[in-house]
Symmetry: C2
Subunit: 247 residues, 2 copies
């Protein structure tokens, strides 16, 4: 597959590109990407967030930003919040209409997000990939100089089944997998303190070990995280090992 072998052009000014992917949607990939970018900014790094989930862009809602970006000399100016520079299809195609662009037009939009946005100097650009191993995710990781990838999963077997495919997709295009994160690992009932393994338990670690991938840890299912995502005030788990792994 020649595309897997072509050298990937560096992006001037951007030191690291960290892709956040998943085998299936709804595992918290965007939540992890958003909180990783915010945590990196809090640690004093220059951070960016590229929302490449073009058909279901949730970054604007999760970051609490909704504006139309300006363009200067054909370069799009990223929006900024909490120290993170951002670009998302959600800023360009706001509202409830599904995205009409397909195929080649879409690929050129993705390339514009990578190379036609005025990112400036960044230590880390976090890329929120589309979920899964489809066309957009694959062509992005084949053409962008990705430093490493984080794969997000839940403990459920269907999620792990798809996460293994995602790890293999990164490996096929020689992108280093920095690690696997298991999200929604368990719920602690707020009043009773009862622990409930809604989606199962332990599968993330077993899968990481079997595939010889670092296990970056478990994140609990926490209503506060969903509230943060829905209200545009992410909780930015300071405790997660993601920033250390990625940095």
């Amino acid at each position: 597959n020649p595309a897997a072998e072509q050298p990937k052009q560096p992006i001037p000014g951007i030191r690291n590109l960290i892709a956040v992917g998943s085998g299936k949607g709804g595992v918290g990939k965007t939540t992890v990407a958003v909180n990783l970018a915010i945590s990196l900014a809090k640690l004093g790094h220059k951070a960016g967030l590229l929302d490449a989930d073009v058909y279901g862009p949730n970054v604007p809602l999760m970051m609490g930003v909704q504006q139309t970006p300006m363009a200067v000399d054909n370069r799009i100016i990223p929006l900024e919040k909490d120290g993170v520079k951002m670009m998302s299809m959600g800023f360009l195609n706001p509202g409830d209409k599904p995205l009409v662009w397909r195929g080649p037009m879409l690929h050129s939009v993705i390339q514009q997000f990578l190379r036609g946005v005025d990112w400036g100097e960044l230590d880390h650009l976090v890329i929120d990939l589309p979920p899964g191993t489809g066309d957009v995710a694959l062509s992005l990781i084949q053409t962008a100089p990705i430093t490493g990838a984080i794969v997000v999963t839940t403990p459920s077997d269907v999620s792990l089944e798809d996460a293994r495919k995602a790890v293999n997709m990164f490996r096929q295009v020689r992108v280093e997998v920095l690690g696997l994160v298991e999200n929604m690992s368990y719920l602690i009932a707020p009043k009773s303190g009862e622990r409930i393994d809604v989606f199962g338990s332990g599968g993330g670690k077993r899968t990481a070990d079997a595939m010889q991938v670092h296990f970056l840890g478990e994140l609990p299912l926490d209503p506060q995280v969903r509230i943060g995502g829905d209200s545009g005030k992410p909780v930015a788990w300071g405790e997660t090992s993601d920033p250390h792994a990625a940095v």
Copy 2:
């Protein structure tokens, strides 16, 4: 858009095609599709299940079936379980390698699943669409004679935001939206009985009303459902109003 207007060829022997879609992954679309097909079969209907989620096919795991289908005279023989005839990319591309087919090859595979599988006489063919409003979902609903579509969402705002796009996608190609299902609506803690609105509450009904779509009801977040899905023994909620809505 000419594709939206072309007459969709009926599929001989299949009375109804019911598409199950979602705005984003992980909301339980496959779980609803699987349980809908099983419930229809239990009610005595001839039911089929077409897993069109080609990059993340979870139907084999959820139905507890893993075999390679046979072909006779260039027509693929569907696998069968619990009275449901099934076809999935997961039967043809088992294991952990991401699917290599893209673009035109993929579209022809989808057409083969629709018209090159020996479905026989079916009252209802349930189609588990890929999540979202991407290429594969769109081209399938543009070319298949879909009787109606069910959109699955969770209560979280990001899921509802994407679900609205999915409803609009169906409307743009003149596919009737039979209704919206809100899954993972609340969790009842098994020991304490405490109710926890992990992903929020009430948004599904509000969205359905705002878009003038039938609200098919709430399905609770229930560890037994996940266990059923992971062990290939779906719980087939007999109580859900989906079968009545679809039938």
